[in-house]
Point group: D2
């Protein structure tokens, strides 16, 4: 809903408008228009009653009010009174509690490697295993993954450790076989707008981890989620993994603000991927913690027992020891911000911070 | 220093190289080259002895080793054995401890407003006051600040509250008068490469808060710091305030990863500005906490007793209550990550996290 | 091939190096490294003999020479002595001559519309018809195209006008049916890294129009072409259609420089799409001409007999009259720059400009 | 002026609106809003009479019409009935005719170099000399220009060749001395938002070449021009010189579409700088021609008699022979598009293309 401010409105009248919006329960602002100089503000219409909208339209600062609907319906906050959560076996992403950490190698390489990695992830405190069987690779000449035999090795690692498995699916034709082995399907950043894949994955009925495209707006990303939700599958987790920018020192820029921004727009849970989001091993731990402090519902990282021997993404793959730092830090921050109860966190503090999210 | 990998090097040989680099104390990788497919890695040469470099060059994975010096000298980590800190009155930015929070209105408007804001900032736990007397404005027709009388009002607010003051200087000719009233000079994002201003500000001998330009690389930003350092003034604090990107929902993208990345490249302290970094009031608190979790040495935010009545930047200005959330959260995270001692933080945990930074 | 310059090299020695590179037939520079301050230059190694490389390495300005191969092989200039051309029926894209113009509506809507559009395109001088039967749409709730019946209507329009048809294919499973009706398959920007689709389209054996992804580097785009070429299908045309940037006034930024840059890197032909590249009807004609002046082998535009009645992309769709301006302007520029013989272009001028491309 | 479309409006009603806008003389569309799905269009209000606006508001497709003023006044098209032109000695930029070409070295190095360069520029057909006396340099340790003695050498080169001179001014304090020697003052990209400099330069009363900042929106750029125009100095020429983007192969992305876009927004003339706009010598000629084809009023390039010996920007500096290609090509394109009369251009063609601009 767009609110056009009268150019002659005084500061006091503008303040009155803001207060009224807050009092009526409006969320936003959703941004200002590129034309003009800030005299149009947008807020979410959903929480406002018709009567509230009329009261706002009648304020002296307001020239007129124009409704604009969000183009996504099922993904919008209006569609769910509470944040939704997605369950993968015993793991729950979203809805509060300690943010779960998902870890594992970039690629499945062989049985020893993936079982060892899964065990190391579990020992460090990760609750879910990631690993690529089908790998999207920029060059046709680089290792493309083990394919179906990689899926079998992931299932074997799950059998040994009990960790549920998330792995990428890259083609509609392969959705069934990937869904047979995996507990959660990953849609990769390159395929965020591969609509046939989104629909096929949605129909598989499994939880889906939807990575953000490297130059996708938040709205495009939510519309990609909408493609899945529209199949009747509500189990979507958004994954911020970095956007493309200009500085050659990092592979991507992790848009941490996407986490609290999604909170205002959608009920879907959101996790951060600091491995792809930075491309540098030395930035993964601090950026995982940054994501959690900003309110992420979970973290996914590339971890390998011997990172330097990894067949792909070695430069951004961390050790089990660094994973342990993330998990301990995640718990500590969640407790410090009062998101989980912790014996060492004073009560008053918890309450004060419950509002952060 | 660039290390060229032999194309025929096996995974084991590559791993051996990585281990050797770690064992010799190399920092990095600093990134890979855009040409070729990842067979060149860059690491900082500084910590390596000549003997170490020879040992690395002799490994089977290595085709050759080529030294490349960082173009900035005084700002580089090689120039200082320990992280440097900058003192502004009783406030210390950098060097550990609770990250200080700087707060205040976008613009100084009148005596009541700035004194009230300073008092509210102090009451919430902020240790320094920000406020613009000279305002860089995109349009010549918008409020440009009170100028010198604004400086006097800032001094008055300091007198009342005891908080030191940081304010922007926009012209070489005004450096002296701003330095007369302010405790710290701010170089704004639009002026990051205004070299005459950098040099004039450096010569004033006051601490300087150097904002990152909205499309500046980390290297350009460090070279801007180098302009100041080269005047003989070592008191530079880097301030990440968001880079320009494509999503219309936020004003900028706060590049939180710049914080840990600067740690690897410079000894200078770094603070985050989540107000300009997002442009949205509802994102300021979580992004301030994200910056602190990533290792920032401080936070600077726009706060106003009545944000909706602010004459500029109202959309991104927070309330005193939100400032209090930031300050409490900052302390809680610093304690949780073992950066400060806290009675409620278990000892073992602190030790484990000392390495995060 | 990377050439490292000695820091002590004088300007005269650097000039000597440049002259030697030119004399030996080196192409480039391909860019400089982000580390250091410009003392490494990259040139294509392909045209240099081993003896030439040794002569260059021996110059006083040169510290050392390091070979780096381009990651794409079949797409690289080294793979073909001459620019390649792609034939679609009677139309030839690449290899000189008047750059062909492809035109048609965003979507096929019904028989009258597509036949009328094809006839208008032909009358204006376009030599090929574009039109979407399967439409990638950001939202699941917008018109997704007529599908297979749209393909039949395209075939009908071809029957009436004789114009060959290019249309998008979005799923590997649909490649066969689209190839049955279309003369050229389009891979859309969202699918540039949908590798299963690239491979399936390659195997269909039809010419392929490969759009650049909105945040794809030139190297990633050439590697996507490599996926197709590696199937044994050499008929690939690159299509620059704008990259994502920060200014809200245009939908994308048409990277016109990609045209001459591709000339230095690949033998494949390249066309420009100023419709998606700007998103604004009023910019399509001048940007089409800009692309041709920069050396494009063709132009593809969205045109509709009644643009304002178009079911999709109306804001960027031009009229038949504007199409005629593009076609007349394209011929005039090609003649003016001596790329085609024209009775009204003086001979001397033609010769001088043959080098522009 | 924003026009809100009724969601229920039929395609025919939408077409009727477009036709009415065209019939009433509306310019635009200026873009669509980021919220919603294209049901708001913006057009310039200036050319419409009040009666015309009422007629449009009454159409069945229109929900309502809302006026939004452009934040720049003096720079807007509404401020001048015809495109403005800027005169520098005998050179006129803007207003039609053959687009003038400005050429010269990045830096003034010594008398022989600048006089030789000026003579080579003149011989090739350039009508104005560029050259830096004060150089903005990212690093404090690189050559910063000859300063005032460089200005004297530029004046000497003008004396010898008769070419007027444009050179950069970087500090308000130096405006007077630069204006004493130069015929046109350049505001560099790094200083586009150095407001004190814009105002000081405006007051000097000389023509000003205003480069676009590397991440500036078109609106911010026009507001920077407004700062100059508001001093009472109307002689402003806009210079597109590339925006920052993600591909490492070029230094910047030359936003050629800024040329026709500025035509719709401002009466000020616009030139392109393909040297900084690409950073690569091999792209300068084709991109200069692309700019001219898109409607630029002029071209500015870095040219050096011995480019490889240039003390700065050697990688993007062209030879006198390449400059000649630009000048011949510029004339040929201007004639081909009917912007100048040429004996070899058929009459009918000229008329048809008069509308391109």
């Amino acid at each position: 809903m767009l609110i056009f401010i009268r150019p002659q409105a005084t500061a006091a009248q503008r303040a009155e408008l803001r207060h009224a919006l807050a009092a009526e329960g409006a969320r936003g602002p959703m941004g200002t228009l590129p034309l003009g100089a800030g005299d149009v503000i947008g807020v979410e219409a959903a929480p406002l009653t018709a009567a509230a909208r009329e009261r706002i339209a009648a304020l002296p600062a307001v020239a007129r009010v124009v409704p604009v609907a969000a183009p996504y319906k099922l993904a919008s906050r209006a569609a769910s009174a509470t944040p939704s959560s997605v369950r993968i076996g015993a793991v729950v992403i979203g809805g509060g509690g300690v943010p779960p950490v998902i870890a594992g190698p970039c690629s499945v390489e062989n049985e020893d490697q993936i079982v060892e990695a899964a065990q190391a992830a579990k020992d460090a405190g990760a609750v879910m295993l990631r690993g690529g069987a089908f790998k999207p690779r920029t060059s046709p000449y680089t290792f493309q993954g083990l394919g179906i035999s990689g899926l079998r090795l992931l299932a074997r690692a799950r059998e040994v450790t009990g960790l549920p498995v998330v792995t990428e699916v890259m083609e509609p034709n392969l959705v069934d076989v990937v869904a047979e082995y995996a507990d959660m399907l990953q849609i990769g950043a390159r395929n965020m707008q591969n609509y046939a894949l989104l629909v096929a994955a949605g129909h598989a009925g499994k939880p889906i981890l939807l990575k953000r495209g490297p130059s996708s707006t938040i709205e495009e990303w939510l519309l990609a989620a909408e493609y899945i939700l529209a199949t009747g599958n509500p189990q979507v987790v958004m994954c911020e993994r970095g956007i493309r920018s200009f500085d050659p020192l990092t592979r991507n820029v992790l848009d941490v603000a996407a986490v609290p921004l999604l909170r205002t727009l959608t009920h879907l849970p959101v996790v951060v991927d600091p491995s792809h989001g930075t491309g540098r091993r030395d930035l993964v731990v601090p950026m995982a913690l940054a994501g959690v402090a900003a309110g992420a519902d979970g973290v996914i990282v590339e971890m390998h027992p011997q990172p330097d021997a990894a067949m792909s993404d070695a430069a951004q793959t961390i050790t089990p020891a660094a994973l342990r730092e993330i998990i301990t830090g995640t718990r500590a921050i969640a407790a410090a911000l009062g998101r989980i109860s912790a014996p060492d966190t004073p009560k008053e503090h918890s309450q004060r911070h419950a509002r952060v999210r």
